[in-house]
């Protein structure tokens, strides 16, 4: 009896499914996701999703964000990818700009407009935020103990002499998340002051890694002590047992990690289901797993989180200091990356030498004050902090034109080639750092 009922119900369901929109709720086939997320995250979602939708085979292709964007661009003519899934909102902006995404409005209810000061979803619906992340400082407690270092709290702490040669970051041109950190400091403190902070911290860098993952990796293994990272790297390392700690500085941004459906997705129905799934309570809970540790965008999910899990919806101080302006960030995106590379990444030796000399002179002056030396030292600091371009110039389309992805038309004249601009900046930094070092050494001589 019950079997017949079941059969009838099943038949009805099939009928319903094939005749109405309900079909979308029971998708099947292959679903191809290109993602920059680590296996810990993707396989947890993969398992949960396959359990809920056994007819869909989820195929996850790992590529770093830049390679993923390039892959989608190169394969657009005959697209075989359904979803693009990555942290950096700007990667999605690039795809959106290239008309490679398609709009979808998730069916899930209860997700707020904003997390921190940042909108969760793209206003045009081309991509949706599914998790949030903030930026902060992680450190290895064994390393700190062995080197007798205090725990840092704010970005400016990292500029202190005690941290010389102990800090690491990944290059913003290589890591979308680091770019946001740098931009956050620039927006939080203003262009001139922000760069000063960035360069003072940079003077203490041990290394600048090529991959964003290189930073937590190095802190975990203890090859350097302190890293500037996106929160989940630190939180998941900690949850996995590494002796690391993490703090959000006051000036931080909480930014959504996103998912978007690729234009001409071969399996659109399944792609939509997947987006709805990861936003559903069930999907959001996956984010709490120890190896993942991202902040859910659904405020209700925090009820199930372990104690002391950061909650940007409740702890309003998180990310509230900075009213992150996406427009401003977008306008100078490539310029900021190129400036960081030319002034810091590729001139690190010069910058560190100048910083070391300044630290030494500073220490000597503390013991034996000397006005002339003090003035020299201030000059040295200004030389390090000096920027070859102003905030206005950085946002000028003429300058960023040298860095843009494609020329609009042959008549769009670009005043200078990228390589020329870069060489100019590099020379500026090199000369300034050398001069700063000299001044600091003079100051030290006077203070002795």
């Amino acid at each position: 009896m019950s079997r017949t009922l079941h059969g009838v119900a099943a038949a009805l369901a099939v009928l319903l499914a094939s005749s109405t929109a309900a079909f979308a709720q029971d998708p099947s086939g292959k679903l191809v996701v290109v993602t920059s997320f680590p296996k810990d995250l993707t396989s947890a979602f993969q398992q949960a999703f396959q359990k809920a939708y056994p007819k869909v085979t989820l195929e996850v292709l790992n590529r770093n964000t830049n390679a993923g964007v390039k892959y989608l661009q190169e394969t657009a003519s005959n697209n075989g990818t359904d979803l693009f899934w990555a942290s950096a909102p700007d990667a999605f902006e690039v795809l959106k700009g290239a008309n490679l995404l398609q709009a979808y409005k998730p069916k899930v209810e209860g997700i707020p407009e904003k997390v921190g000061a940042y909108p969760i979803n793209d206003p045009e619906g081309m991509y949706a935020g599914f998790a949030a992340s903030g930026y902060g400082i992680m450190w290895n407690s064994r390393y700190m103990k062995a080197n007798e270092l205090p725990a840092p709290k704010e970005w400016s702490d990292l500029a202190k002499p005690v941290y010389y040669d102990h800090v690491a970051i990944s290059a913003p041109s290589r890591s979308g998340t680091t770019h946001l950190t740098i931009e956050t400091i620039l927006q939080g403190e203003g262009w001139e002051k922000g760069w000063r902070t960035n360069k003072e911290i940079a003077g203490n860098y041990r290394t600048i890694t090529e991959r964003s993952f290189g930073v937590p990796d190095g802190v975990n293994s203890g090859s350097f002590g302190i890293g500037i990272v996106i929160d989940f790297f630190a939180l998941s390392s900690q949850a996995s047992g590494f002796p690391v700690e993490f703090v959000y500085p006051t000036v931080t941004t909480i930014v959504p990690a996103n998912i978007g459906i690729v234009k001409n997705a071969p399996n659109k129905a399944a792609a939509e289901t997947f987006v709805d799934f990861i936003l559903s309570p069930q999907g959001q809970e996956v984010l709490l797993q120890p190896a993942i540790r991202r902040l859910p965008v659904n405020p209700a999910t925090y009820a199930k989180a372990p104690a002391d899990y950061p909650n940007p919806f409740k702890d309003t101080s998180l990310g509230s200091q900075v009213n992150f302006d996406v427009e401003v960030s977008q306008a100078r995106y490539n310029v900021v990356d190129a400036l960081f590379d030319q002034l810091i990444t590729f001139q690190l030796d010069g910058l560190k030498a100048a910083t070391r000399a300044i630290h030494q002179a500073d220490a000597a002056l503390a013991k034996k004050p000397n006005d002339k030396a003090k003035a020299l030292l201030a000059e040295a600091r200004d030389l390090v902090a000096a920027m070859p371009v102003t905030a206005q110039e950085a946002a000028d389309p003429q300058l960023s034109g040298a860095f843009t992805v494609e020329r609009k038309s042959a008549t769009d004249a670009v005043p200078e080639r990228q390589a020329q601009v870069e060489q100019k900046w590099a020379a500026f930094a090199k000369d300034n750092y050398a001069a700063a070092r000299k001044k600091a050494e003079e100051a030290l001589a006077l203070a002795r």
Binding site: T75, R174, G214, P216, P243, A427, K430
Partner: protein, 570 residues
């Protein structure tokens, strides 16, 4: 009689075989190397604003401090790596071929193992052991209050690269040493030449083709290697600069492509110089029956010294593997000389998931290596023994593959083959797994080619002439005389191609189209990107080393057996 001679002569003049082979190889290289790379490199000669042809990008390159610094750094690191790699390879090769030495086969196999390790993983392990806060330095600091900057800046790159690539010298040099006619050495000894002088004046010069082949490979490979400097965060070298430009800025900025062109030109120059060094010298020895150096018995003291040297080098060379193994069993390994505790968990994690990766890798790498030795032997033969016009170009083009960054090849393939549908399925051609094999084969072809060329240089032309005079056809001569005599070099080529193809990452990562077709290196990359620890990645790495090592050993055994059956054992 005269008519027979005439036909022979006319056939010899036409020689359709070499021409057909040359055309086929040229087509293959054109399709899978030149076209994709030119598609990408075109950008280097393009004015960014107008799209017209220009050389201004190259002017920018030479005016730029950073690029020039990178250029010199690359040059310095490559040259130093050759020096250090030679210091590692020479004693191993010489001792194992020249003396009666127990465990010689083991040493030679161990000498191949460094190549099996993906460089980016090797650097991870080396940093754990030799880094600023690695095992060695932590112990030194605790007990003696000192530390040694093995891994600081360019030193680190040189250290990791020489350990990783010294087998190129070892394999080629050993093959060369084995091929030296014993009579040469004996005559020298009869004339009163002994010891180091014998080595310097007779043995080493005769083994030059192998040494130069190996050293030029090391030089070019280090010059163009990406993974190691990137992982050690040494950015101011040419290959990382090219990669950083291409992958972060993309087509907007031509400099990445300009650097690629510079890399290719430098590699060709290095090859040209090594060819010049070999020019006008004859290394072939005629007598084969008693070939190979006579093995001498060592005096007890010499034996102890020899073992000490070999052991020291082996420990150094196997350090990345030791580090990787430790990591694969480690729970947490953080700022301490050794892991906190050991576990089998990571092996459990990867055991169930890695079957597909392993079968794919074995399939791709062996097909690619097979393709490489076939093409390599053919090119070597055409270049050295045929009179085809332009034959040298086959060699140049194939060798240029060495300098093509994997990313460039990957992007080039996507660009060239993505819109080509497969017959029957309609799937893009670039998504077909065979494309991965071609990419691997192209990237590894230079190794096989150098090994085959060195092997052929040592086979005297007169042996061929003799076979032909006795009535053998050209094809029969090649298959029954030339190839068997080259088998040591071919084996070296196969093994290097196979082992390195199995761990190639940069080109494959762009081309992997579905998880089920993905090779091991892709799996390693994915596993290693976890903030929750690199244990599973290390475990997969150990699997990779064991599997590829076994594959390498098996191919060695099979080919050696073949040699022995043909009575060429020495």
């Amino acid at each position: 009689m005269t008519s027979l001679a005439l036909t022979r002569e006319s056939i010899a003049r036409v020689r359709p075989g070499p021409a057909v082979a040359a055309v086929l190889i040229a087509l293959f290289l054109l399709l899978f190397l030149v076209v994709p790379v030119v598609q990408v490199i075109f950008v280097a000669f393009q004015d960014k604003t107008t799209g017209s042809f220009t050389l201004i990008n190259f002017v920018d390159f030479f005016r730029n401090d950073l690029f020039m610094r990178s250029f010199w750094n690359s040059f310095y690191v490559s040259a130093m790596s050759v020096v250090v790699a030679s210091a590692l390879a020479l004693p191993l090769a010489y001792l194992t071929t020249r003396f009666e030495f127990r465990g010689a086969v083991l040493i030679q196999s161990l000498g191949i193992i460094p190549l099996i390790m993906p460089p980016f993983i090797g650097a991870v392990a080396m940093q754990l052991l030799f880094g600023r806060n690695g095992t060695v330095n932590l112990l030194l600091r605790d007990h003696f209050g000192i530390s040694i900057p093995f891994m600081e800046g360019l030193n680190g790159v040189i250290f990791v690269q020489s350990i990783h690539y010294f087998p190129f010298i070892l394999i080629n040099l050993s093959a060369s040493l084995k091929n030296i006619d014993r009579a040469m050495e004996e005559s020298a000894q009869n004339l009163g030449c002994h010891g180091f002088r014998l080595f310097r004046r007779i043995v080493f010069p005769l083994a030059m083709p192998g040494y130069v082949a190996g050293a030029s490979l090391v030089f070019i490979k280090v010059f163009d290697d990406l993974g190691t400097p990137l992982l050690l965060n040494v950015n101011d070298m040419l290959a990382p600069q090219a990669y950083l430009r291409i992958s972060s800025i993309g087509i907007a900025d031509p400099m990445g492509y300009v650097i690629s062109v510079v890399l290719i030109v430098c590699s060709l120059l290095a090859l040209w110089v090594s060819a010049l060094a070999m020019k006008g010298k004859d290394y072939a020895t005629v007598q084969r029956g008693g070939g190979g150096l006579a093995r001498r018995r060592m005096k007890p003291l010499e034996l102890v010294a020899a073992y000490a040297v070999v052991l020291l080098i082996l420990v150094l060379v196997l350090a990345p593997h030791i580090g990787l193994t430790l990591l694969s069993f480690a729970t947490i390994w953080s700022f301490s000389p050794f892991p906190d505790a050991f576990t089998m968990k990571h092996y459990g994690t990867v055991f169930l998931e890695s079957g597909q990766y392993i079968t794919n890798t074995l399939l791709y790498a062996s097909l690619a290596a097979l393709l490489d030795v076939v093409i390599g032997t053919a090119i070597a033969y055409l270049v050295l023994r045929s009179k085809l016009p332009g034959r040298q170009w086959l060699d140049y083009i194939a060798m240029a593959a060495l300098a093509v960054p994997g990313v460039v090849l990957g992007i080039g393939y996507l660009r060239s083959f993505y819109d080509v549908p497969m017959p029957f399925t309609g799937q893009p051609l670039s998504g077909f797994w065979l494309i991965l094999v071609f990419a691997l084969a192209i990237r590894r072809l230079p190794y096989a080619l150098r090994a085959c060329t060195a092997a052929l240089q040592q086979v005297s032309n007169s042996l061929e002439e003799a076979a032909e005079n006795l009535g053998a056809t050209k094809l029969r001569t090649i298959s029954r005389v030339v190839v068997p005599l080259m088998s040591g070099g071919i084996l070296a080529g196969f093994v290097t191609s196979f082992a390195t193809a199995a761990v190639e990452l940069s080109a494959t990562i762009m081309l992997v189209h579905s998880q089920s077709d993905a090779p091991l290196a892709y799996g390693l990359y994915v596993y290693m990107q976890s903030a929750a620890g690199r244990g599973p990645g290390a475990a997969l790495g150990v699997f990779a080393v064991v599997i590829v090592g076994l594959g390498t050993y098996l191919s060695h055994v099979i080919i050696e057996r073949g040699r022995r059956e043909r009575g060429q054992d020495h």
